[in-house]
């Protein structure tokens, strides 16, 4: 039985290798002047007044793929929540208060709002400069955990009602879907960027639905990362096994 499986793997692997080699030989040379896909993507992005072509590709031309990506993040966090939940033979001990050096504590509390605002800035400027929903969401979620690093876990738990973040994670995914369905209801295609005016190039309100999708993804990623870190922190700091198990 083992040998049959190995033969199957070998055949599949050989086929994949042959196809990969054929594809690589057909690629354009590194750093050449002929970029058919790039030219068309940039032209489509400029037609819709989006300055950051990556954001245009992510949220306008291939917005359906981004829907798949946020679903992957959602499912991964869901899996972690299920795996890391408190089991029957574990109990939760309250976290011990910690005494952190004063300069470190002051720095953490000072940088927390700056980092939060920077995260929101990166989300809002996704269609103008490098950044977008994903990057800004991660920065905002990490900013919140400066409260754990600068003070202790009890302080973080007080400002982090976990149910709210789980709900906002789901709501953000639904918002993305609703924005896509709005296109269907208006008579065009799912996630078509033809509903809203395209605005002036290089301003915050340009690009049609791209800023809205950016905001939805930003909220989703921030909430997902907070929930993920919450379960890791619970396991590392609070949850202990019952003795004798």
């Amino acid at each position: 039985m083992n040998r049959l499986r190995l033969w199957l793997l070998a055949v599949g692997g050989a086929g994949l290798a042959a196809l990969l080699v054929a594809a690589c030989l057909d690629l354009p040379a590194f750093g050449g002047r002929w970029h058919p896909y790039g030219d068309r993507a940039v032209q489509a992005s400029l037609d819709r007044h989006i300055a950051n072509t990556i954001a245009s590709v992510n949220f306008d031309q291939r917005a359906y793929d981004t829907l798949g990506e946020i679903s992957i993040l959602f499912a991964a966090v869901l899996g972690c929540v299920v795996l890391l939940r408190e089991a029957r033979d574990e109990h939760r001990a309250p976290p011990e208060p910690a005494e952190v050096a004063r300069p470190v504590r002051r720095y953490a509390l000072l940088v927390l709002p700056v980092a939060l605002v920077t995260g929101l800035y990166v989300i809002a400027h996704g269609q103008l400069s490098p950044g977008g929903g994903f990057q800004g969401g991660v920065v905002a979620a990490t900013a919140l955990h400066l409260l754990y690093l600068g003070a202790d876990y009890g302080a973080l738990e007080r400002v982090r009602p976990l149910g709210v973040y789980e709900a906002s994670d789901s709501l953000a995914v639904c918002a993305y879907l609703v924005l896509g369905l709005a296109g269907v209801l208006a008579g065009t295609a799912f996630l078509a960027n033809t509903l809203l005016p395209y605005g002036t190039f290089n301003t915050l309100s340009s690009g049609g639905t791209v800023p809205l999708l950016n905001a939805a993804v930003g909220m989703e990623v921030a909430s997902a990362v907070v929930v993920l870190l919450a379960h890791f922190l619970d396991q590392a700091v609070e949850i202990e096994e019952e003795h004798g198990s």
Binding site: N52, I54, V122, P130, G131, G132, F134, Q135, V138, V139, A141, T142, H145, V225, L229, F232, L233, Q235, A236, V237, E240, E241, H243, G244
Partner: protein, 86 residues
């Protein structure tokens, strides 16, 4: 001549990645991975992909080390409790 900065970045990434694989202890690996993340972000920047660089910085500077170190703490606590209960 901007190839020089690409070469330097590629060499740094190769060195960091090899060092990360050679490390055995997870806590030390987390330290090397943090440096690798920063150097990877620079590589993406010099190859004119700042969006990818920004994503790498956002995830690799604080989030990934935090996840790995929390796992290390959990494993160590579990080891200590088992020794204490015995």
């Amino acid at each position: 001549m901007s190839d020089a900065v690409i070469t330097v970045s590629l060499l740094l990434v190769a060195g960091c990645a090899t060092a990360a694989v050679v490390q055995r202890d997870p806590a030390r690996q987390a330290l090397v991975l943090s440096v690798l993340g920063a150097v990877l972000a620079v590589l993406f920047t010099v190859l004119q992909a700042p969006d990818a660089g920004l994503s790498q910085l956002a995830v690799g500077s604080a989030l990934t080390p935090l996840l790995i170190m929390l796992c290390v703490r959990k494993v160590r606590r579990r080891g200590r409790t088992k020794d204490g209960a015995r």
